[in-house]
């Protein structure tokens, strides 16, 4: 059975406080360095503009909820409010669809704080009714690189995970290829 993480972290901790000034724009570099779990990411009360994915710059596109798989990176611009009388929760939440079994008492969330004013209390974790994350397929690269011409080689991978006789998990890959000369 695959191991389920015991907790979600941001910058190797929980309850991280990120102090910000009002009316400024910050570049957030978000990296999912998990071995396994994807996380939903959002900032209560705020949207941000996605400008980069996996090191490739794209036209700024506004989003409020990201789905970040293991190993993906997102660069977003966050413009803070001009004035506010509260701090806000920055949320990460593990995608539990990936877990075969959910252990009792697992908290899939990590809460950090966008701190406009340290003297104000830190907010509760923000909740979402449902997850409708941004679809990264919508992004357009800033360099405008056009679709590559028809391929010289097509590699087709059909993949499935299976269980071997002794219970071990094994990936089965069927590889086909077509070369166009």
């Amino acid at each position: 059975m695959f191991v389920v993480p015991q907790s979600a972290l941001m910058n190797e901790t929980q309850g991280l406080q990120i102090p910000v000034q009002p009316g400024k724009t910050y570049f957030l570099r978000i990296v999912n360095m998990a071995a396994f779990a994807a996380q939903y990411f959002w900032i209560d009360g705020h949207t941000f503009r996605i400008i980069e994915v996996d090191g490739v710059y794209h036209e700024p596109t506004e989003a409020s909820l990201l789905y970040i798989t293991a190993a993906q990176r997102y660069g977003v611009l966050l413009t803070t409010m001009n004035e506010t009388d509260t701090n806000f929760a920055i949320m990460g939440s593990m995608d539990q669809d990936l877990f075969d079994q959910i252990p009792d008492g697992l908290n899939p969330n990590v809460t950090s704080y966008l701190v406009y004013d340290e003297s104000l209390p830190m907010p509760e974790a923000a909740e979402l009714e449902e997850f409708e994350p941004f679809d990264d397929m919508e992004l357009v690269p800033t360099d405008g690189e056009e679709l590559y011409p028809d391929p010289d080689l097509v590699v087709q991978l059909d993949v499935v995970m299976d269980n071997l006789g002794d219970g071990a998990v094994c990936a089965e890959i069927s590889l086909h290829s077509l070369r166009f000369d």
């Binding site: 994915v53 996996d54 798989t69 669809d97 010289d152 590699v155």
Partner: protein, 162 residues
């Protein structure tokens, strides 16, 4: 034997995919060719696939349960590829869905394409692209501290069994 070292030492055999052994799931790519990867996820799980050495153009992602990619859907115009596709190097393939990606083999080296879930890498959900451009490869040297751990006889065995 790391595939990169095989590529550097196998001489004329480096462009024969079988020299890397069947478990590496290797393909040899011609320099500057356009390569299209069609990934059919016949599994109910979500998999984040990662390509080393390139950011691919992500041309099509099928929804959950959309089944295998159907080239007919492109031929008959029901699916239209974007003119300026999104580019990245880790992409989610949906349960029982599919992905179509393109990249140009303009970066000589040995590059893995694999699911980035650590346990799935251990289970073998991984393949290898060998991009050969002999001039660049010959200029690459294996550090002596590493070459002393190589066992050339194993490479020879692989060559002649096939």
């Amino acid at each position: 034997m790391p595939s990169l070292y095989t590529a550097l030492t196998a001489g004329e055999f480096a462009t024969n995919a079988s020299v890397y052994g069947t478990n590496t799931n290797s393909f040899v790519l011609e320099h500057n060719s356009v390569v299209e990867i069609v990934l059919n996820n016949q599994d109910p799980g979500k998999h984040p696939f990662h390509l080393h050495g390139h950011a691919f153009q992500t041309i099509l992602r099928g929804e959950d349960e959309s089944g295998d990619f159907d080239p007919e859907s492109v031929a008959n115009g029901s699916v239209v590829y974007p003119t300026k596709p999104m580019r990245r190097d880790v992409i989610l393939v949906r349960p029982n869905g599919h992905l179509v990606m393109r990249f140009r083999a303009d970066n000589p080296g040995v590059w893995l394409f694999h699911c980035h879930i650590e346990w799935h890498v251990d289970s073998g959900l991984i393949m290898t692209f060998v991009e050969v451009c002999f001039v660049s490869l010959l200029s690459c040297l294996i550090p002596p501290s590493l070459s002393s751990t190589l066992r050339p006889n194993q490479v020879t065995h692989l060559l002649f069994v096939h």
